[in-house]
């Protein structure tokens, strides 16, 4: 029964906002808005769980359900791996009508067998979707039996879509890692500079913009949870000295769980923007030094920050004039709504509005502080309203996910992808230069003038453009 545990997930002692709430408010959950039939948008809990776990690249991710859950969604996110590609392989029991009538347990067992024999993965994650949850497949028991029989960890992820939102799915996935994965293996080597990164999924390779910085400081990512992750490394996360939660309030519970069980402190940070990146590196150095890292770490960190900030500032110079005071409308989720704001401010841009539909109250307070009283904070904006604002010229560019891109493009307004399908990595010092480059390209493209030209039949009275 997922419900009681789901409710518990919204009691988060590690989250100050959560503790400030009354009992009743806490039960509602932090970012969980009630879903309105006919006016809801966004992914389900299964989606959220898969987003959080699937970047574990060498594991098999088996979706137990009818075809919709995996057939419509596999290989659709740009989380990247530097090695194994098994995580991108769509695997599903593709339950048929007869499977549902007879129960899907035997098929699930055979599917696990097939996967272990064919791919020999270090672990199999089994995602329970709505239908097997409804008909009562004992996935737990099948996984236990299969794990024993095939001598491979087989981990049930009980986050069927109908229990709630994507954010809840993130949390359930964090719980699975804490309960079933972390602490089950021991690392071969330990260093005094071992860290966990939590909530960084290496979308478009963003982890790889941060890792070289850490490498230069001698900081080792013991467990990346879960971008470009490996099962063994995640299982060793209990041996790190500090956890950094990257842009993900939903994963704070996991970091806090690791702290409670293994005494590993954590902090929240972001790698979007120069200031955020430097702050994150300083925090890491501080925590590591306190935990016994070489004393010169802080000094080396400062040296690196000075050099990298100077380099980034130089690289940004050519873009500054075109970007200065340009107005951005941000429509994204959760923590990105504030972490990206500070990056945009560093580029001299103005954020005229940002969505807080998936953000926690804490996120909202931070945004308010950052962007000032004039800017709009809005929840879910109907496409029609977004269209009206863009056509009215309230922003120079929309930054959002793929689903809203056409609202901007059809209004003939520049647009930049900030969500999971983006092709570019925007993290770290290099990332902000990428971001500036992309924004500059989008804003200065001559195509906007072209597509706004009136049609010849509409402009019969207007003089034709003179040849140059």
């Amino acid at each position: 029964m997922p419900t009681p545990s789901a409710a518990n997930l919204f009691n988060e002692p590690g989250c100050a906002v959560n503790q400030a709430k009354g009992d009743k408010q806490r039960k509602v959950g932090c970012s969980a808005r009630t879903l309105t039939p006919g006016a809801a948008a966004g992914g389900c809990a299964f989606d959220g769980a898969k987003i959080a776990l699937q970047p574990i690249a060498d594991a098999a991710h088996l979706v137990h359900g009818p075809i919709a859950c995996e057939g419509n969604s596999w290989d659709s996110r740009h989380a990247l791996s530097s090695g194994p590609q098994l995580f991108r392989t769509g695997l599903t029991t593709d339950l048929s009508e007869l499977d549902i009538i007879h129960g899907g347990e035997k098929k699930l067992y055979r599917a696990i067998k097939q996967i272990v024999e064919r791919f020999r993965p270090p672990a199999v994650f089994v995602y329970v979707t709505c239908v097997p949850a409804l008909i009562g497949d004992d996935v737990e028991a099948v996984c236990t039996a299969a794990a024993e029989r095939f001598a491979t960890p087989v981990i049930p992820v009980v986050a069927p879509g109908f229990v709630g939102s994507k954010s809840l799915g993130n949390k359930l996935a964090g719980r699975v890692l804490l309960e079933r994965v972390i602490g089950t293996r021991e690392p071969d080597v330990l260093t005094p500079c071992d860290i966990n990164l939590i909530g960084e999924y290496n979308v478009a390779g963003e982890l790889w913009q941060v890792k070289p910085l850490l490498d230069r400081l001698g900081i080792r990512i013991l467990a990346s949870i879960t971008g470009d992750g490996r099962y063994h490394d995640v299982a060793c996360a209990h041996r790190a000295r500090v956890s950094m939660v990257v842009c993900s309030q939903a994963m704070v519970a996991l970091a806090r769980g690791i702290e409670d069980r293994y005494g590993i402190p954590f902090f929240e940070g972001s790698f979007y923007g120069i200031g955020n990146t430097s702050a994150a590196l300083r925090q890491l150095a501080r925590f590591l030094t306190a935990a016994g890292a070489p004393a010169d770490l802080a000094e080396r960190t400062e040296a690196l920050i000075t050099a990298e900030e100077a380099r980034a500032t130089r690289a940004l110079a050519p873009y500054q004039r075109a970007l200065k005071d340009k107005r951005v409308l941000l429509y994204t989720g959760g923590v990105k709504s504030w972490s990206v704001v500070s990056a945009l401010h560093e580029l001299g841009m103005t954020v005229v509005g940002t969505s807080v539909r998936k953000s926690t109250d804490d996120d909202q307070a931070r945004i308010r502080e950052l962007i000032g009283e004039e800017a709009m904070l809005f929840g879910q904006v109907p496409a029609k309203e977004m269209d009206r604002r863009l056509r009215a010229g309230e922003a120079d560019i929309l930054m959002s996910g793929g689903r809203t891109q056409f609202v901007a493009l059809k209004a003939r307004v520049p647009w930049l992808d900030i969500n999971q399908e983006r092709e570019d990595a925007y993290a770290g010092y290099g990332g902000i230069v990428n971001l500036a480059h992309r924004l500059h390209g989008a804003l200065t493209n001559p195509v906007w003038a072209e597509v706004r030209r009136p049609a010849p039949w509409a402009a019969a009275d207007a003089p034709a453009e003179a040849a140059p």
Binding site: P37, A39, A68, S76, L91, R110, P382, R403, K410
Partner: protein, 463 residues
Amino acid sequence: MSAALLATKACAVKPLKVSPALGGALAFLGLDRALPLLHGSQGCTAFAVVLAVRHFREAIPLQTTAMSEISTILGGADNLEQAIENIFKRAAPAVIGICSTALTETRDDDIVGDLKLMRERHPDWDDLAIVYARTPDFLGSLEQGWAAAVEATIRALVPPGSGRKRLRQVNLLAGSHLTPGDVEAIAETITAFGLTPIILPDLSGSLDGHVADAHVPTTLGGSTIDAIRRMGHSVLTLAVGDHMRGAAALLEDRCGVPFRVFDRLTGLAAFDGFVAELIAVSGAKAPEHLQRQRSRLVDAMLDGHGTLGNRTLALAGEGDMLVAMGRFVTELGARVPVAVAPCAAPSLAHVPAERIIVGDLDDLEQAIAAAGADSIELIVANSHAAEIAQFFDIPLMRAGFPIFDRLGAGHQVTVGYEGSRTLLFALANTFIARGHAPAAAAAPGATLPPFVGETDHAPASSC
């Protein structure tokens, strides 16, 4: 034609199948001022929207009844009613097309009965058309869902009774394998004979990629409810794709409109048959530009047969796509050693492949690996096959759904004389770009192993 092999494995690997509910929703997107609604958890809709957006590169209006575990247990009628009411108030669509999902079909509510009661409670919905299609995810793939939605639309909106026939009006039932560009090309041909087609569903009106003057929360363009209501007055139904047969037969049963099913409109013989039907029903001569187009296709076939003859292709996709593509290339002398379909369908009997597998893209991969990568010169499949093609270093021509790594998926035209010619050139140019195939690989009879030359002067490169 070989018998289809059904994969018996428990785990689908690299699925080729998408959900029928998505297929149903796509069909509803071909109705004007429509808002499709998936009756399931919100993830059912979210995944479908993302995939359709990536394919069409258009905003996709698609809503959800946002079923929770509680509403699933207690029954989904309340959620459905709320969803319809919210959509009705916010988006004011002409039609809401509801698709069931595996979740609601497993619970098996009496939706038809519930809808009737809702209508009684909501007299303000009187002008709102509501169509309910049963598209459980555990039964079939995109084609099956599409067909179910089209049939449900006819049942809900076309009044029974034969009525007075309009001599120049025909119905065009467009299958899911046709792009918006295809539908437009077919409609133009019909119109050229002085006939007026009522198209169902008409993606060429809604998903043709146009920039509207203002945002609308529903589809903009497509089959209108008024036109659909008049389908019973047509003199003939032209159904394109075997999966449209049921809908055509339904129209005949209901309204006495005779029908012809064209399993494909790609290729000379296939389109000749269609044009012959148009000549017969209109009594008009084939317009000159069409005659010219036919002559151009014949010329292209003469120019291209040398390049295409004896080539080997592996196909993966929904049944009617396999029929259109497979038959066209084999008519040009190419061979299809293997074709993979996501589920069994009557159309598979007409796929001219040496081996037909009902399975997934991993079955395609295994089949190519078993035969040797050299034995296949081109893969025709959706974008998910890109990695397989890259692995074997075989070119991939993207066809079917979804196509998310190329622009213009909705505008590829492969029907009619012109579309066939475009396809022929695209195929031929892909082969030309790759250079000559080893002649022995194209030896007649699939059983012969490819000739491997032992010296630098191997005859393998002769042509």
